[in-house]
């Protein structure tokens, strides 16, 4: 379908696709199997200026937004959802600085992130605080001109690889969620170390790691926004990053659909290509329809984000739910189209199915997303009545 991309957006999409085909594709199977972080791909993406696309021009970006980021994530994910995540998660870690950073903080961090020489990460989740983010226990105590951070964050994407972390911690533990703040922490700060590296079902080329803060002292100037704004920073960040997860899901689904269609034309049973059987044709038709619908919603939501729409929570959640459920369904069906071969590691679709699963879980599980969507519906209805 034609999404009427500008010349520049088409250029971005084509370049991301070129890198995916030429550089990522040869590594996909090995990096999945061995769980290798794709340093050389990050470098290539940086040299191609792809980290610049969602960063404002005054900070050495190219001035695009979430839509441009989504185009890149989709093209990379089409070939490898795991390798694409190094890029997407850096986007997640960069958004709070774009949205809430002071001019000084932006000058300090955004040009480095734009060049791709440095990656970012976003750290909210803890062992006891997943869907219920208000249960976090990491604290940041004000001490003179610094914050002293103590606590452990869990399952942080780009953990250990990124140099710049936006960490949500309690500056006023008595006030719970209202006492949380967002603080930028650099990798080499004393008291900040990395713990367990996770061994995962999918997106295995992505680094998922524990962040350990043991009286880690950072200058007070590293605070994003104001004290007490931690949850607001997190929620506003997710509103903008969820179309990115949706794009990852669309890319994975499209990749699986491409493989399924090609295979169905090659594989012969009963003397004919299996694509000649209506039972299979209908599956392919549904897969293609679902992928296109997910893409259309994702693109539109990304465009709404960039157009500055205020109430994003509901639509951003819709894109994430719709695209991730589609990715799970389409990749599962792709395995079905491949039959027993689809179940084998030697063929690419079982990996896509494993990779797709995470998109239903992170950046808020799909249950939580549906809750957000429903809350918006209910609130709007009540507001309308008044």
């Amino acid at each position: 379908m034609n999404y009427f991309l500008t010349e520049e957006q088409q250029m971005i999409k084509d370049l991301a696709a070129k890198i995916a085909a030429e550089k990522i594709s040869p590594l996909t199977a090995k990096y999945d199997e061995e769980g290798i972080f794709p340093h050389e791909i990050v470098k290539a993406l940086g040299e191609a200026d792809l980290f610049r696309v969602f960063i404002p021009e005054e900070y050495e970006g190219l001035g695009g937004g979430v839509f441009e980021m989504a185009l890149v994530v989709e093209e990379l994910s089409r070939v490898c959802g795991g390798i694409a995540l190094a890029y997407a998660a850096s986007g997640l870690g960069t958004i709070p600085i774009i949205l809430f950073g002071s001019d000084e903080q932006k000058k300090k961090y955004l040009p480095r992130l734009a060049s791709g020489e440095t990656l970012a990460a976003f750290a909210l989740t803890e062992a006891g605080a997943g869907s219920d983010a208000s249960a976090i226990r990491t604290t940041a105590k004000k001490d003179g001109d610094s914050y002293v951070i103590t606590g452990t964050k869990q399952w942080i994407t780009n953990g250990g690889e990124a140099e710049i972390y936006t960490v949500i911690a309690l500056t006023d533990p008595d006030r719970g969620a209202r006492g949380s703040s967002a603080i930028i922490v650099e990798r080499d700060t004393p008291g900040f170390t990395f713990g367990k590296k996770e061994d995962k079902m999918g997106i295995r080329a992505s680094a998922t790691r524990e962040l350990i803060f043991d009286e880690c002292r950072v200058p007070a100037g590293q605070l994003l926004g104001k004290e007490g704004m931690g949850f607001l920073v997190a929620m506003k960040t997710f509103d903008q990053s969820r179309p990115g997860v949706a794009a990852q899901a669309v890319g994975i689904a499209q990749g699986a659909l491409d493989k399924a269609v090609a295979y169905s034309n090659e594989r012969k049973q009963f003397g004919k290509p299996i694509s000649s059987f209506q039972g299979l044709q209908f599956m392919l038709a549904d897969m293609a329809t679902q992928v296109e619908a997910a893409r259309a919603l994702t693109y539109q939501v990304a465009r709404n984000v960039d157009a500055g729409e205020k109430n994003l929570a509901g639509i951003s959640a819709m894109a994430k739910v719709m695209a991730s459920d589609t990715a799970m369904k389409v990749t599962t069906d792709a395995v079905q189209v491949f039959g027993g071969y689809g179940y084998m590691r030697e063929y690419p679709v079982e990996k896509m199915m494993r990779d797709a699963k995470i998109t239903q879980i992170y950046e808020g599980t799909n249950q939580i997303q549906r809750e957000v969507i429903a809350m918006n519906l209910i609130k709007e209805q009540i507001r309308g009545k008044k």
């Binding site: 250029m11 370049l15 030429e22 550089k23 040299e47 191609a48 200026d49 792809l50 610049r52 190219l62």
Partner: protein, 282 residues
């Protein structure tokens, strides 16, 4: 690019000659007429020239300087130069004139040399070892002759350029390579082993889109009508044809010793080789 890669500042004036060619990776030949089916075939930069461009950009990163890209071709060849500019050279010039049409390697070298003189002088001129469509490999050396500078063909590595402005290169041979040293200015043609060309960057592509690419004609190059294009080309193409596929053929299988012996006796029997005792020299 970053200064950290700079080995020593020599401020090199670098030039790259590129040619636009049909993308033969998906070209088809009309089986009846035996000619290329050019319709719908995309044009690309001659792949060997991409290695030359990459090497020029690397020399700039290593020693500082400027990179100028030139191409002779029809007006559409501007697309190849724009493409080249997206990788980061400083400047591109297109040599395009009806009078250039039908040029053989002599006329092409002369035209390119005239432009290089006008733009130069250059310290290092790079080109691919040959163009994928003509496969002659003559234009590079031809330019060097016109400019009166040394040339080394089929370079697989540029080791270094010393302070005394001598360049050390490795020239690919069939069974190894030879190290050579030359004084600048020099013309080098490169093979694909020399590097892995970079990908373009978005900023590069955007700048390339906006870049002005001057177009020079024969007159602007001070070339006479009899020197360029078909008029300046002593080569005459009599006929282009696909050689007939060799037919038959015989495979000698089994133990090497035995199969070689059978092969030899068959060749001798057929009068292709001289029999033992009749030749002398082995």
């Amino acid at each position: 690019m970053s200064d950290s890669r700079m080995e020593q500042p020599l401020n090199l004036r670098l030039a790259v000659c590129i040619k636009q060619v049909p993308d033969t990776t998906n070209i088809r030949i009309n089986p009846e007429t035996n000619t290329l089916m050019r319709e719908g075939v995309a044009s690309i930069i001659n792949p060997f020239d991409m290695y030359a461009l990459e090497e020029a950009l690397r020399l700039k990163e290593r020693y500082g300087g400027t990179v100028t890209v030139i191409s002779m071709g029809p007006p559409q060849a501007e697309a190849a130069l724009r493409d080249a500019l997206s990788f980061g050279p400083d400047k591109a010039v297109l040599l395009s004139d009806r009078a250039f049409a039908g040029a053989d390697t002599l006329a092409t070298s002369l035209t390119l040399s005239a432009a290089l003189k006008k733009l130069g002088p250059f310290d290092v001129i790079l080109a691919g070892k040959q163009a994928m469509d003509g496969d002659t490999g003559q234009v590079g050396p031809g330019i060097a002759e016109n400019l009166g500078i040394p040339h080394v063909t089929e370079i697989r590595r540029i080791e270094a350029i010393a302070e005394d402005r001598r360049i050390t290169v490795q020239r690919l041979l069939e069974d190894g390579y030879v190290r050579l040293r030359a004084a600048l200015p020099v013309l080098l043609t490169v093979v694909k082993e020399i590097n892995e060309p970079r990908l373009p960057s978005l900023r590069g592509k955007m700048n390339a889109k906006k870049a002005e690419i001057p177009r020079w004609t024969a007159e602007e190059l001070g070339l006479k009508p009899e020197e360029t294009g078909l008029n300046g080309s002593p080569t005459q193409v009599m006929k282009i044809f696909t050689p007939p596929k060799p037919e038959g053929g015989k495979l000698f299988k089994g133990e090497v010793k035995e199969s070689v012996a059978t092969l030899l006796s068959e060749l001798t029997g057929a009068g292709i080789l001289l029999g033992k005792g009749r030749g002398g020299a082995r």
